[in-house]
Structures are given as C-alpha cells and as structure tokens.
C-alpha cells in the first residue's frame, strides 16, 4: 500500500522536476547556513565555519543525484529523455522522417488491412452459441477425396446411429418465388427459401425471437408453416410482430408464419423463409440422390476427431450394407467455419504472406536508411561515448528512435488500413462469407501494435549493431564526412538491398504466375458466345406435376413473345446458364443394367428449351436442336455434347441410340443431336460430358428457368420490355436480370481478386526495392567519387564510369535475383492449386521476372550513375 503510494508520488515527480529540484537546492542551502551559524556560535571564524560545514555536507552534487533518483523513477526518466531526444532528431530531419514513416506506414497499413479481412473471414468465431461445436457433415468420396451433398436415407442413418451430436439436421436452400401476404396485388419476389429438418435451429442454439418453432404436426408432409427472418419480416410486414400470423405463398402453397428469427440469423445464405423439409416436396428416398446438406452440433465435450471417428465407422457400416449406392462413400466432419471459407483460405493466407513480405522489404529499406544515418552520426555517437554514455545507453537511444518511428508509422498505417480494408472488401468477390464484417477492431489494433513493434526491432537492430562495432578512436579522429562505419556498414547496406531484391523477386514471380493464369482464363475457349446475352432469372411457383406443367406452358407462351420483341435476335431458356450446373449423375446407353450401381460414367444434366443453343452460340454439330415436337407426350429425346459422344460412342454414331439418366425419370431418351462442348463449370475446368433434355418433357425440374435473350443492342436495354411481358403472363413470377458477360466475370472474380491484389503488393515491393537500390548506389557513388575522379584523371571515359556503376548495380541485383529465384521456386509451390494453364515453375514467367528486376535495378541506378559521370576529376583530386 505505502509502497504503491510512493510510486504514485514518484510518478508525479517526473513532471514537476524543475520546481522540486529548485526546492531541494534551497533546502540544502538552508541546511548549510544553519550549520555555518552553529559553527560560528561555537567560536569558529566565518571562513572556517563555512569550510567546515561544506566538508561535513559532503558532495552536494552527489546528494542531489541520489535525491533526484529517489524523487522520480530513473528508468522512466531516461526513457523520457531518450524520447525527447528522438523527437528532436526526427523533427530536425523532416525529409527523412516523412519518407521513413511513409514507407513503413505503407507496409503496416497493408498488413493491417489484410489482417482485418483475414480475421473477419477466417479467424473470427461465428456469431452463434458455442460456434466451435457447429460442424458440417458431408459425403466423403474416397476415390477423389471429394466432399459432397448427402442423401436422405444416409442422413437418417447418420442421425440415428451417432451419439457424438447434440443435434443434427439437413437443409436445402435456393432462390425462389415467394409472395408475402395473401392479398391480391402483391407481386411475387425472389426470396431465399430453405427447407430444414427438425433439429436445424437447435444446431445453432437459436430459437425464434417471436412465435415458436415448427410443431410436430407442421413437420409432417402437407404441413403449411414457415419461419421468417427478422429482415424479411421488417421488409414485407412493416415490423416483425406484425408478420406473426400472416402468410407467405411459395411453390403454389400458402404457409402460415409461426415464428420470426432474431435479427442477424440467416443461415444459410441469408435465408428469408425456413419451412419444414418433407412438407412441400417429399424427401428423396434414394441413397444415390445426394440432395441435402447436413450440419450438426457436437455434444458438449466431444471433440471433432471423436465425432469423425464415429461417423467413419457408421459410413463403413453403410458401405457394407448398401454396396450399390454407398461403395467408396464415407463421412467428412468439418468445422462449419472452416467449411464456409474453404475456397478462400489459401487465397487469403497467400495475400497475408505477400503483405508480410512487403513489410519485410519496407523494414529492410528503413534499416538501410537508418544505417546510413547511423554512419553519418558516428561522430556524434563517438562523442557521446567519450563523455561517458555507455554503449547500452546509445543503443537504447537508437532503439527509442526506431520505436518512435514505428509508432508514428503504425498510427499512419492504421489510417491507411481503414481505407485499405474497405478497398480490399470492394475488390473481393461477393461470395466470400463474412467479408462485410472486416474492419478495425481491438484485435486488429493489437495486431498493428504488434507488427509495428516487431518492425521497429527488425530495422532498429541494424544501425544498433553498426554502432556497437564502431571503434571510438578512429571515429573521433576521422572527419565527419569520412567517418564511415567502414566496410561493415557498407556490407550491411548491400546485404539489405540484396534481401529486398530477393523478396521482391518472390512476389513478382507469384504475381506473374497469377497474371499469366488469369490471362489464360480470359482466353479460354468457352464454347459459347457470352456477349450481348441477357439472362432473366424466373421462378414459377409449383409444388406438383400439374403446377409444373403450368410452368411449362408459361415458358412456351413467353419465349415466342420475347423473340418477337424489337432488338431481340434469339431467345431460349435453360435450367442453369453456362458456368453453373443444375444436376449431374450417372448415365447408361441403350439399356439399363439389372442393378443401378454408382460406378456408371457421369454427366451433367441440363434442361433447355428449343433455341437455347442458338442463343448461346453453341454450335450444333450433328442432328437437330429440340423443337416444339419434343413435347411431354412425345417420345423422349436428348442432345449430347461432344465430350459425351467421345466418351460413350468411340467410333460409333451416337444419333439414334437411347440414353438413360436419373434426372426425374428413367425413361429412355433418343439421342437426336450433338452440340459442341462448353465449359459448364466455369473457365478453369475442362468440359464434362453433358446431356441436354427438352424442358417440356421434364416439367418438374423446369419450373425455374433462366430465359436467355440475345440482343442486337446493349442487353440491359431490353430488360424492362422482358419484365413487362413476363408480368403480363403471370404476376406470380419474379424476375432478376443479369448478363452472360456479368456471370462470366463473376466466375473469374476470385482469380481477378488474387491477381490484382498480389499485383499491387508486388508493385509495392518492387518500388521499395528500387528505392533501396537507388539509395545504396547513390551512397556508393558518393563514397567512390574520389576514386572515380582519379580514374577519370587517368583517362577513364564517361562510359567506363557508367559501366563501373552499372556493374556494381548488376552485381547487387544479380545476387538478389538468384536468391529470390530460389525463394520463388519454393514459395510458388503453394500457388499450384490456384494456378490455371501455367505451372508454378513456368520458365517464361521467371525469365520475365529476371529481366524486369534487372532492368528496374539498372534504371534505379541511372541517376547515381549520371552523377558519377559528372564527377569533376579536379575537384575529386583536390580532396585527396
């Protein structure tokens, strides 16, 4: 207690130093006087009395020193002193300070911004109760280690046989036509609808904020209840309380709203409406129909690995029991958070590593500047040492300066990060989950502080080492200009520049590879023409075959009317525009095997209208397109793509053969045409075999078609005319517009994001490295100007001098490039999985990187070289 009080008083003592110092001097003075008075009284002469008192008092200065130390806190005082001195140093060299702080702020800002994104997307716990216990369960295909959706029967076995889970549920989610309320005049809109099995909400540990969950009765087939999101309630009913007891219409049914979820809950994909599975559409009962996604909540205390082990055992049991459908199929249990971001984990970590490298380069740059400064200050340091400052004290002074720089840069970097974080979010593909949550929070602040301190250590160490090595005697003897730290400082600076170049080679190589693969993606032969195609998403509510056939009639009426619109060249419809696929599975040629096994070759299943191929510019190679004759009652037909023709009919004519697939029925379909391949899964993946089926013959999957319109003008210009046509025919059909080009661009959004970001970082890295080269070469030229003058006096030409400087630059750059290439070869291995059409060891890319950096380094040394060429031999000689 008392001790604490004393510390506070001492802390206070730091601030009114002047005054209390003065008071103590007075106290000592009065002490002295009283002593003299006493001495005089005891008979001494005035002089004697004074001398005696002074002797008795002892070293006044020493007493004051001890007293002073007791009054304040010496360590803090030294720190404050160092700090004051550091501030003065920085203010005295505003140019240096601004450049240093800016360079470092750039590095810290970029890191902070990137970290804020990584934290929001990858690290922050999900906003559910005990989020670590929420997992996803997926079918695990041993053959290709791929994860996939789950079949209904599999789910029930998983659920019933496992004990590791407190709750387990499946769900399925899509955009569909939903009408809020039942009054006429309200139009249908797209909304996110999710069917959920009974334990769904328990998995997240949430329950409705208003109302209740589904009753057992409502969860049975035919039940008509819905729970809506808070946002949907506010948007469509004014407020959430008003929504309770109202209704929504979807899939041709009317559902009662029995609950409203709390604000912020919208799993999955910002769901608007949840309804019990197995009520609107029956649950699929085939073990090979993988239609659902499964989530679970681990029992308290059960670890993920334990759950995984248990599920693996269940998967093995099912494999034995149902070999036809479950052979090679196991179960994968993954943390929900990891599953959500699995696509972006690598990209984000690569970017974080890249900005880390940028920061390293910035630090190397700063170390370089500080070493130069330390050399210039050698004399100052030597003098301070000479008058008694310990080396430790001087190093502490230097480190204080570094830390001050880092703190300033950290503050500036934070400001940059506010902006940078928003920029990264804006550049990023829209489908990165939780990206919007990126921002500066306390964790990010801590991170910034941490890297600032780390950086200050990194770049502060170099000059400190340099100072420790300086020999006091020589430093004092030399004049200011010549007081070099000698070759050590030079070597250190050169090593730093080599490191900078090496690090930038790594980044530039990475950026180069990504750029090359992005260009390759852009130039890939898609198999269709995406320009000037409007894509109109539509959704016709239907819950049964009759409803589905109404949908068919709707599209059959709509398409000719759209084709007749002015400016429309062609129109068609498809279940899934290129780049997305709707369904896939096994197929059989000519006859079905006795037992349907999972080893059949697989194809993408598509449902299209007549005219879809022409509208998309997919070439018809043999046979014919679908036409109005391919109706529901006619013999079933199919069109296959080239890949399927090659796979299933080597050296045969596919036309006239029949094909089977389990899209909605096992009817044989006669192959009537062959079309060219398109890249159904986006530009990065090879075309798969594909079976196209006419929409009239498959009404049930064909209620949510995308209408494709090829126009002679800007596709957007036609959208309102198309919307009017659709609403003339039906008010229940919501529409959404995009273009084929926009869809394509979304498909490459992730590679574009990666390429752009790494490109920016690589650019920063090169810029910083070049500044480093420039700094060192300028210094070298300055140091060697005497030698250069001598050479010129002895007959060296200007071009000889130029060669001299450039040769040294190339030596530095060459060393950096060689080291960097080795580093790049190692580092770019991590990119392999996100590269397209280019190997991580692409020689052309590496050659370009080498050329680029060598040229850039030469460019950076051009100004110093010119300065060297202008050295006046006479001036230089006079200095000798």
């Amino acid at each position: 207690m008392r001790r604490l009080r004393a510390w506070f008083v001492r802390l206070g003592g730091l601030f009114n130093k002047e005054r209390s110092g003065h008071a103590f001097a007075q106290e000592m003075e009065s002490h002295l006087q009283m002593h003299i008075d006493d001495n005089v009284r005891s008979g001494m002469t005035a002089d004697e009395a004074r001398r005696n008192a002074l002797i008795k008092l002892g070293g006044v200065a020493q007493t004051k020193e001890i007293y002073g130390e007791r009054r304040g806190i010496p360590a803090v005082e030294t720190l404050l002193q160092d700090l004051r001195f550091a501030v003065r140093m920085l203010l005295k060299n505003p140019g240096f300070t601004v450049v240093a702080v800016s360079i470092l702020a750039l590095g810290i800002g970029a890191n902070t911004a990137m970290f804020s994104v990584v934290r929001a997307v990858l690290l922050k716990p999900l906003a559910y109760t005990d989020p670590d216990r929420i997992v996803t369960l997926a079918s695990f295909w041993k053959a290709d280690a791929g994860k996939g959706q789950v079949s209904g029967p599999d789910y029930h076995d998983w659920h019933d046989q496992s004990s590791a889970f407190e709750a387990m549920a499946y769900y399925g989610s899509w955009d569909t036509s939903v009408t809020a309320g039942t009054t006429t005049g309200t139009t249908a809109e797209y909304a996110r609808a999710t069917k959920v099995s009974s334990e769904f909400f328990r998995v997240f540990g949430v329950s409705p904020a208003l109302g209740r969950e589904f009753s057992a009765e409502e969860a049975k087939p035919g039940g008509g209840a819905a729970i809506i999101s808070y946002a949907y309630g506010v948007r469509h009913f004014g407020d959430e309380a008003n929504a309770l007891g109202k209704r929504v219409q979807m899939a041709g049914k009317t559902l009662d709203i029995v609950g409203v979820m709390p604000p912020g809950f919208g799993f999955p994909d910002r769901t608007d409406v949840w309804y019990p599975a197995n009520t609107i559409a029956p649950e699929t009962e085939s073990r090979s129909a993988h239609n659902y996604r499964v989530i679970g909540r681990l029992q308290n205390g059960v670890r993920l690995e334990q759950a995984q082990t248990q599920m693996k055992a269940i998967g093995a049991r099912l494999e034995q029991k149902f070999p036809d459908s479950n052979k090679g199929k196991s179960v994968a249990v993954t943390q929900l958070r990891d599953e959500m971001v699995s696509n972006y984990r690598l990209t984000l970590y690569v970017m974080l590593a890249a900005v880390g490298v940028v920061l390293l380069i910035a630090c190397a740059n700063l170390a370089n500047m500080l070493v130069a400064k330390a050399v210039a200050r050698t004399r100052e340091m030597a003098i301070r040492t000479a008058v008694g400052a310990g080396r430790g004290r001087i190093v502490r002074q230097l480190i204080t300066e570094s830390v001050l720089l880092a703190v300033l840069a950290g503050a500036a970097g934070l400001a940059l990060a506010f902006w940078g974080s928003r920029t990264v979010v804006a550049l990023a593909p829209g489908d990165i989950p939780r990206l919007a949550e990126a921002g500066i929070d306390s964790n990010v602040l801590l991170f910034t502080l941490g890297i600032s301190m780390l950086a200050s250590l990194l770049f502060g160490l170099a000059p400190a080492l340099q100072v420790l090595r300086v020999d006091l005697n020589t430093a004092l003897k030399q004049s200011v200009q010549r007081a070099g730290g000698g070759s050590l400082a030079d070597r250190m600076r050169q090593a730093l520049v080599v490191a900078e170049i090496a690090l930038s080679v790594v980044l530039v190589a990475g950026a180069g590879l990504l750029l090359k693969s992005f260009v390759a993606l852009q130039n890939v032969e898609l198999g269709f023409r995406p320009d000037r195609v409007l894509v109109v998403g539509t959704s016709v509510p239907a819950s049964d075959l009759a409803g589905a056939r109404r949908a068919t009639r709707f599209y059959k009426q709509l398409l000719p009317e759209v084709r007749a619109l002015p400016g429309v060249l062609d129109a068609g419809a498809t279940m899934a525009p290129p780049g997305q696929t709707f369904s896939d599975g096994g197929y059989w040629i000519d006859h079905l095997p006795a037992a349907l096994d999972v080893s059949a070759p697989e194809a993408v299943f598509s449902v299209v209208s007549p005219g879809a191929f022409a509208t998309l510019g997919i070439p018809l190679q043999r046979g014919r397109d679908f036409n109005d004759g391919d109706s529901y009652d006619a013999a079933f037909t199919a069109v296959i793509n080239e890949a399927l023709a090659r796979q299933a009919f080597p050296n045969q004519d596919p036309l006239g053969h029949s094909i089977y697939c389990g899209l909605d029925s096992m009817n044989p379909m006669k192959i009537v045409g062959i079309v060219g391949n398109i890249r159904q899964h986006g530009p990065a993946r090879e075309p798969s075999p594909e079976i196209y089926m006419p929409y009239e013959q498959h009404p049930q999957p064909a209620t949510d078609l995308s209408v494709l319109v090829r126009t002679s003008m800007q596709p957007g210009a036609i959208s309102s005319a198309v919307r009017d046509k659709i609403h003339e025919l039906s008010a229940d059909v919501p529409v959404k517009f995009t273009t084929m080009e926009a869809l394509n661009s979304e498909g490459v959004a992730a590679p574009r994001f990666r390429t752009l970001l790494l490109g920016i970082f690589a650019g920063l890295a090169v810029g910083l490295a070049l500044a480093g080269v420039y700094g060192v070469m300028s210094y070298v030229v300055g140091q060697r100007s005497n030698e250069i003058g001598l050479r010129m006096a002895l007959g060296a030409s200007q071009s000889d001098v130029l060669r001299l400087v450039l040769r040294q630059t190339l030596l530095l750059a060459g060393a950096g490039i060689v080291i960097g290439l080795a580093g790049a070869a190692a580092a770019t291995q991590f990119l392999t999985s996100i590269l397209f059409g280019v190997k991580a060891t692409d020689p052309a890319t590496y050659a370009a990187v080498v050329a680029l950096l060598a040229l850039a380094a030469l460019g950076a040394s051009y100004i110093p070289a010119k300065r060297a060429m202008r050295v006046d031999p006479m001036v230089a000689l006079r200095y000798e």
């Binding site: 106290e27 009065s30 009283m34 008075d37 002892g58 007493t63 130390e69």
Partner: protein
Amino acid sequence: MAEKTDVWQGTLALMVLKTLETLGPLHGYGIARRIEQTSGDLLSVNYGTLYPSLLKLEQEGYIDSEWGQSDNNRKAKYYRLTRAGRKQLAKEAQEWGQATAILARFLAPGEERS
C-alpha cells in the same frame, strides 16, 4: 569521519521518526544534529542518505513537510510526523525492541546450550 560509524541501513528511518516524535516539527539539519548528539557523536549522518530517506518517508506518507522559519530566522523546510508515521514508529520500535532482545539473549554469555 573515519572513526565515526555511518548510520546502519534501515535504522535511519526509525531514528528520523523517533526524533520527530520527541522534538516535534524539525528541519533536516536539526534531525541530523539530534541523531548525532543522541548517539553521543558516535554516529555520523550522511546527508546523501538522510535527504533521500526523508523523501522516501514523505512519499510513503509517514511525514509531512512545510517551509517555515528557523530559530535564528532562516528559511527551512520543517518535517512533521503524520498519524500514519506515529503508528509506523510504534510498530517499528516494537519490532526493533524484539529483535534486539532476541539478539541480546543470543549474545549473553553463559546461556548457550542451556
């Protein structure tokens, strides 16, 4: 000052407190003088120790100080015992008494291995 003993570490504070209790408010010079006299001039108060010690006691709140006039009209800083100081003095004096008594018993001749 070779023949005189410097004040032992740790006991100076106690002496200061006792001096202030006995004599009331007093300046640094007076305290030093009083300690030297009480010791029969066997002790020499080192001012480099006295003033930091006074400062420490003040920081801990055992004594207070204020400027005043000395007997022969000199300006001087007077130290005064606070209530906490009085308590501290009692406590330390008692502890000190105990410690010396114990030591005395140890050092008393003939009482070893009784």
